[in-house]
């Protein structure tokens, strides 16, 4: 039995009882709650900690505080309207949620989206990855005492969010990727806007690395902290930057390419230490790789339609509604009743900023999903916290949570 399995079993075998059972024999132990309203738990994560002095003996994540039954709600929506719910799951990476759900529906519909839609989706997703990693950078720095990292991370994210707003009309929860393509074409001036961002980011990333990478306090608090071995990472289902920091050379974008990832070249950063610092290095380099990817996508952006022009599933263009009664009827039917999807099921996985984001969609042939399940990387990665935190200090736990980069909206759904 691996170390991970042992720890999980020890924790789960008796549940919370494990924390009380040995209490009388161990007078020096203390059981405390961390969260769910704690600035370092990144949302409403609650941890039950058993401490001996400052050493974490056991750490059990208790989740569910943000559960809103999104999977159930999707069953009540049309295929297209479910996007609005899906995008709110992992709220820092909304494009990924929309993309993976749309891909699953497209697989059921057996349609291929036009190349331009693929490129737009990939570009938005990669910019979103940078934005999401910038939040991680800010919070990781803040939790380690580097307040300026928070300001800088959010400053650059603002630039990206402005671009998202320019394209989609919303800063978050865009609902931009839809089954069959994207909702609207890129607006005028998008290329200049992206190029400005691409010009800005590498220099700023240099600044960030200058701030933290060699900072002795930061190194002290991250190197060798929260180690996760490759075997444990595999056993715990850990994916994404966490897995790559533990030496698992796997990236769905490169190894099972989807959307436009087959057309671009990029490196997948790998570290083998598996500690918080390795995760820091992986994410910092991932942002640079994303910049490279977006550059190639902008250069190679194809023309043509940006969504499937199938009148059965796409409402007519807005302009037609002004003079055609048929178009109004058509629009009304698509919006209110939606379209049907052939019976079947599909599981599609993409590489979100936090790991393998999977959408499992079942259709019964109706106009709304029969079952929609998201494999959210935050949820699965959360289990590794117990393994990483054991034996460390409470202060290390803060660093570990930050390096885990959990989004509670995705964990609880």
């Amino acid at each position: 039995m691996s170390r991970a399995a042992q720890i999980i079993e020890d924790l789960e075998r008796r549940g919370q009882g494990a924390f009380v059972e040995d209490f009388d024999e161990n007078q020096d132990r203390m059981v405390i709650n961390m969260g769910p309203v704690h600035p370092s738990t990144h949302g409403v994560l609650r941890l039950l900690l058993e401490l001996s002095g400052e050493t974490v003996i056991r750490c059990l994540p208790l989740i569910g505080y943000l559960h809103t039954g999104m999977e159930k709600e999707c069953e009540d929506q049309t295929w297209r309207a479910a996007i609005v719910i899906v995008t709110r799951m992992d709220y820092l990476a909304p494009f990924f949620n929309e993309q993976v759900y749309s891909s699953a529906v497209e697989e059921l519909l057996d349609i291929e989206v036009p190349p331009r839609a693929k490129y737009i989706r990939t570009m938005m997703a990669e910019l979103n990855r940078i934005a999401s990693h910038l939040i991680w950078f800010g919070t990781q720095g803040l939790d380690m005492g580097a307040m300026s990292a928070m300001f800088y991370g959010f400053r650059e994210r603002e630039v990206l969010i402005d671009f998202f707003e320019m394209v989609t009309g919303l800063r978050m929860n865009h609902g931009y990727h839809i089954p069959g393509g994207v909702w609207e074409d890129l607006p005028e001036g998008w290329e200049q806007a992206v190029r400005n961002i691409l010009q800005l980011l590498p220099g700023r990333l240099d600044d960030y690395e200058g701030l933290l990478s060699q900072n002795p306090i930061f190194l002290e608090r991250t190197k060798g902290i929260g180690p996760l071995s490759k075997e444990d990472a595999l056993a715990l289902g850990v994916t994404g930057p966490l897995a790559r920091a533990s030496g698992i050379d796997w990236d769905l974008r490169r190894d099972m390419p989807y959307e436009a990832y087959g057309d671009v070249s990029f490196d997948v950063p790998i570290e083998t230490e598996g500690d918080v610092y390795a995760r820091y290095l992986v994410r910092m380099r991932e942002m640079r790789e994303s910049v490279k990817i977006v550059e190639q996508l902008v250069d190679g952006m194809p023309g043509g339609p940006f969504k499937v022009m199938d009148p059965k599933m796409m409402p007519p263009p807005r302009a037609e509604l002004n003079h055609s009664m048929e178009a109004v009827i058509h629009h009304f039917k698509i919006v209110t009743q939606g379209y049907t999807v052939p019976p079947g099921e599909a599981y599609v996985a993409t590489e979100s900023p936090r790991g393998e984001l999977g959408a499992y969609v079942v259709s019964d042939g109706g106009s709304s999903p029969y079952r929609m399940h998201m494999r959210d990387p935050s949820f699965v990665n959360m289990q590794s916290l117990s393994v990483m935190a054991r034996g460390g200090l409470v202060a290390d736990l803060i660093a570990i949570i930050a390096s885990l980069d959990p989004i509670m909206g995705g964990v609880d759904r």
């Binding site: 989807y258 996985a349 399940h373």
Partner: protein, 239 residues
Amino acid sequence: MDAGAWPELVQSLTTEGWWLADLCGVDRSNLVNTGQGQAAEAGVAGEQPEANNARPESGPEDPTTPEAADTPAGPESADVSGSDEAPADEGRFEVVAQFLHRDRRERATVHVLAHGEPPRVPSIAELWPSADFMEREAFDLMGIVFDGHPNLSRIMLPDGWEGHPLRKDYGVGKVPIEFIPQPFLQFDSPHQQPNSPEAGVSVDRLGQPAGEPGRSAGGLSHFDDTKIDSEPDPSEGPS
């Protein structure tokens, strides 16, 4: 496939190099009754169209395991799915597991039928620690009982919740949204009397946890001895 052979199948898959990606429950009641479920099942059992991953889908089953040999033969019936053999009324619940083979770059789906009420499936949490949370989620939301799971308790919903929301007979909006002001701290169980015999340990000795949330979701404070029951705070914001 049948639930009984599920752990052995997982064992053989694991030794073959498959990695457990996902596990969730599906309530197929409406699918089976309409007959569309069968069609869906048949479509699923074969290879999935690879619009996304551009890799051939192949079945995970080890030919040496008997249950894999029992499934209807055919080159494309790769998926281990037994619902076509089972009577319709027994095929209501299903555990769907996704596997990934990193070296072969293939994905595979395994359907495990859960029989009875509550539906039961053997747990694979011992083989895959990652299945721990996933099984708890399937139990919580779908009501599938995983035999042998070390701690099968609700994970998303409060402990005292009735019903399993993802079941098809549990309507959307069944539970009205209520905003009832609650006392900041409320101890309402006999176990929570300090120094009571069944509690085993007193609230004081545990130390009233610093940061213990008076505003936490009711019942989600699993800690038996210091159960705190109050309404969830809708204003809990993102990180």
